[in-house]
């Protein structure tokens, strides 16, 4: 009860702070952050990352607004930041469009805007975008599967894909990346259906796959961890064995704590991270701006590839060698 009350008090305080002009400590950089909301563990980790990095101890004054998935609130929040004359604005845009006007206002006020995670399509009046390269994640999954199949002596790959929500950038990138490797190596992608990034969605699609492609598939690719949990339920019910000692190789994306627990137990063979901790990279951009340098327009975050077995040390993605991390209890503990 106390905790709940505290959470509400903090939220209330944040709102009040957004409304009144800031009296920042002398010399601290004032940063306004308009976050999407708090809809998932991933989002919570993203928020916490910003609060940790842009703390008073580090010489920042963070003005945080939780926009609760309301685009209108988010635009108002940005206008509020302009009013307060903050030094930098960070936006995780709820919608990809409708930004040009308010970003022009930011530009006129001389406040640099840094976009994180999701993208803005209808304006380029921001300094940098910091986020994940979903296509690289898909490519990494493909490259890992190629190396793993070689190491295990598997010659034929028949894959089933459970996609995320239609049109989401994560869905598009991961599908494209994995397909590129699949096409290059002559793998068969038997089917690719929408599981809506949820466990129930994963269950339903996998249930159908088990009947349509009985005994024909040896790889299942789920585009997030929740779908992988659902696919595991459905395969268990149908008597299909999966994971490290099973007939089917299970690949997942996101690598949240719950996902990594299943990687450790060997139910998921490999899990490809979508890093929510954008703040350190944003701080890097801000430091460059403070030093008068021009940061890159697109900053891709470093991400980790998690596996269960210690048979491959690294994989080569787009010409660069990238390490594979074997999941241990310490790694699960450290994950968001």
């Amino acid at each position: 009860m106390n905790k709940k009350f505290a959470a509400m008090a903090v939220a209330g305080a944040a709102l009040c702070m957004a409304a009144i002009p800031v009296s920042a400590e002398e010399g601290n950089l004032v940063i306004g952050f308009a976050q999407v909301g708090h809809e998932s563990d991933w989002r919570t980790a993203s928020t916490k990352s910003c609060q940790d990095v842009f703390s008073a101890e580090n010489g920042y004054d963070l003005q945080f607004v939780d926009c609760d998935n309301d685009p209108q609130v988010q635009i108002e929040a940005v206008r509020g930041f302009i009013e307060q004359d903050v030094d930098y604005i960070i936006i995780d845009p709820i919608q990809a469009t409708g930004w040009d006007q308010v970003l022009t206002e930011c530009e006129d006020a001389g406040i640099p805007v840094i976009v994180i995670d999701r993208t803005i399509d209808d304006s380029d009046k921001y300094v940098s975008w910091v986020g994940s390269n979903f296509k690289t994640e898909g490519l990494a999954a493909g490259e890992w599967l190629k190396a793993y199949a070689e190491a295990k002596g598997i010659t034929e790959i028949n894959a089933l894909v459970i996609e995320g929500s239609t049109g989401a950038s994560a869905t598009l990138g991961r599908t494209e990346g994995f397909k590129e490797i699949a096409d290059a190596n002559g793998w068969t992608i038997l089917d690719s259906q929408n599981g809506d990034f949820t466990q129930v969605g994963g269950q339903e699609v996998m249930e159908s796959y088990c009947k349509s492609y009985e005994g024909q598939f040896n790889v299942v690719v789920c585009q997030n961890d929740n779908e992988a949990f659902g696919a595991m339920d459905a395969m268990k019910a149908a008597g299909v064995t999966y994971g490290v000692n099973g007939d089917v190789i299970l690949i997942s994306f996101d690598a949240c704590t719950a996902g990594l627990e299943f990687v450790k137990s060997g139910d998921i063979n490999a899990d490809f991270e979508c890093n929510p901790l954008a703040a350190p990279f944003v701080e890097e951009v801000i430091k460059q701006l403070e030093a008068g340098e021009e940061p890159a327009k697109e900053v891709y975050m470093e991400e980790h590839w998690f596996v269960n077995e210690d048979i491959l040390a690294s994989i080569t993605v787009e010409g660069a060698e990238q390490p594979l991390t074997v999941v241990t209890d310490e790694i699960i503990e450290a994950q968001y």
Partner: protein, 353 residues
């Protein structure tokens, strides 16, 4: 000829016909692919449980069927829809999981209290939401859609608050009881069957069904005739909330967690659609519960068919929309009238000829 006419004249003929038509699409598909033509209808026992597409339809359609029971009553009594059921599902599941796991815990193996207490609390939370909706509609005379809009947006948020903005995982097999299997049968099927049978018995064996319909047809006249219209409307909303609570627990038990963002998302629309597909008027009054249940499974049959046929996910919603439009249009009074006029004309021509 007259036998056929008798059959087609039944109220449930069209809903059942449409459902069968959807399923028959699979026969054509399987035959075209060179598979065994009745693949879709084959039920076997695999890995100790019932296995087959029909089982999938019954299993996955359970939540919508349970919701359809409550929604039918609400539509009949108040000539409006309860659009909060999806959010209430989420709230009931979140409340139950929060009690079982303890506040702020995101993953647990041990239950903090007996399972039955958690489940009952979840169902009660559903009833509470239903009472709130019913009070607004019956006693404050607020339009049903406006009244239920409040919980539509608030219930899910309250659920998130109860779960401390986390997905609460309950890694304890006992919680899976509602979502997995009892013997070879998926439990959701049994839960849905129980809900439907209890509702049918109560409606048929008591005068309640009649009362609800008469309130729906004319609230004032019913009151003058001695029925407490307000109380009956309130009761329908409570039953609807109860159904939403049960459906939420089933959905949550399937994934043994409370994913407050996604449980019951846009289920209210499917529940309303189920009522409409069952040949019921959304204007209230007379209703046919079996029709709604058939409507619910028709929706699931479409989804399962699209998955089985492997329609690309980008265009699947379009197919779904087309099928739904056809089913609704076939049952529209104007279309029905047209066909009956045509057949009357033919009969007249025959008599003359």
């Amino acid at each position: 000829m007259s036998k056929l006419k008798k059959l087609t004249g039944r109220t449930l003929f069209l809903p059942i016909f449409c459902m069968l038509l959807v399923m028959c699409a699979n026969i054509i598909y399987d035959a075209a692919c060179g598979n065994f033509a009745l693949n879709f209808f084959t039920i076997s026992i695999q890995n100790g449980v019932l296995y087959g597409r029909l089982i999938d339809i019954l299993n996955r359609g359970s939540e919508i069927a349970i919701l359809a029971v409550g929604m039918t009553l609400v539509v009949s009594a108040s000539a409006g829809t309860d659009i909060s059921v999806g959010s209430v599902m989420s709230l009931a599941a979140s409340f139950c999981c929060m009690l079982l796991a303890g506040f702020g815990v995101s993953s647990t193996n041990e239950l903090q209290m007996p399972l039955i207490v958690g489940l009952l609390a979840g169902v009660l939370m559903g009833c509470l939401c239903g009472t709130f909706n019913g009070f607004l509609v019956a006693y404050l005379d607020i339009q049903p859609m406006v009244a239920t809009l409040i919980l539509y947006s608030a219930a899910r948020a309250i659920g998130l608050l109860l779960c401390n903005n986390l997905i609460v995982y309950i890694r304890n097999d006992s919680y899976a009881v509602l979502g997995k299997f009892i013997g070879p049968v998926p439990t959701p099927i049994l839960v849905a069957a129980a809900c439907v049978i209890i509702a049918l018995i109560v409606l048929k064996k008591t005068a309640l069904g009649l009362y609800i319909q008469s309130v729906g047809i004319n609230k004032r006249a019913s009151r003058i005739a001695g029925l407490n219209s307000r109380k009956i409307i309130l009761m329908c909303y409570i039953v609807c909330g109860l159904c939403a609570g049960i459906a939420g627990l089933v959905n949550s038990s399937r994934i043994t967690s409370a994913d407050s963002n996604n449980i019951g998302l846009s289920y209210e629309l499917d529940a309303i659609l189920a009522v409409a597909l069952g040949g019921n008027s959304l204007g209230g009054g007379k209703f046919n519960l079996i029709g709604s249940i058939i409507g619910a499974y028709t929706i699931q049959a479409i989804t399962t068919t699209l998955l089985a046929v492997g329609v690309s996910t980008d265009v699947a919603p379009v197919y779904k929309a087309i099928i739904v439009i056809i089913i609704v249009a076939v049952q529209a009074p104007a279309v029905k009238d047209y066909f009956s006029r045509q057949s009357a004309k033919r009969a007249a021509a025959k008599a003359r000829g």
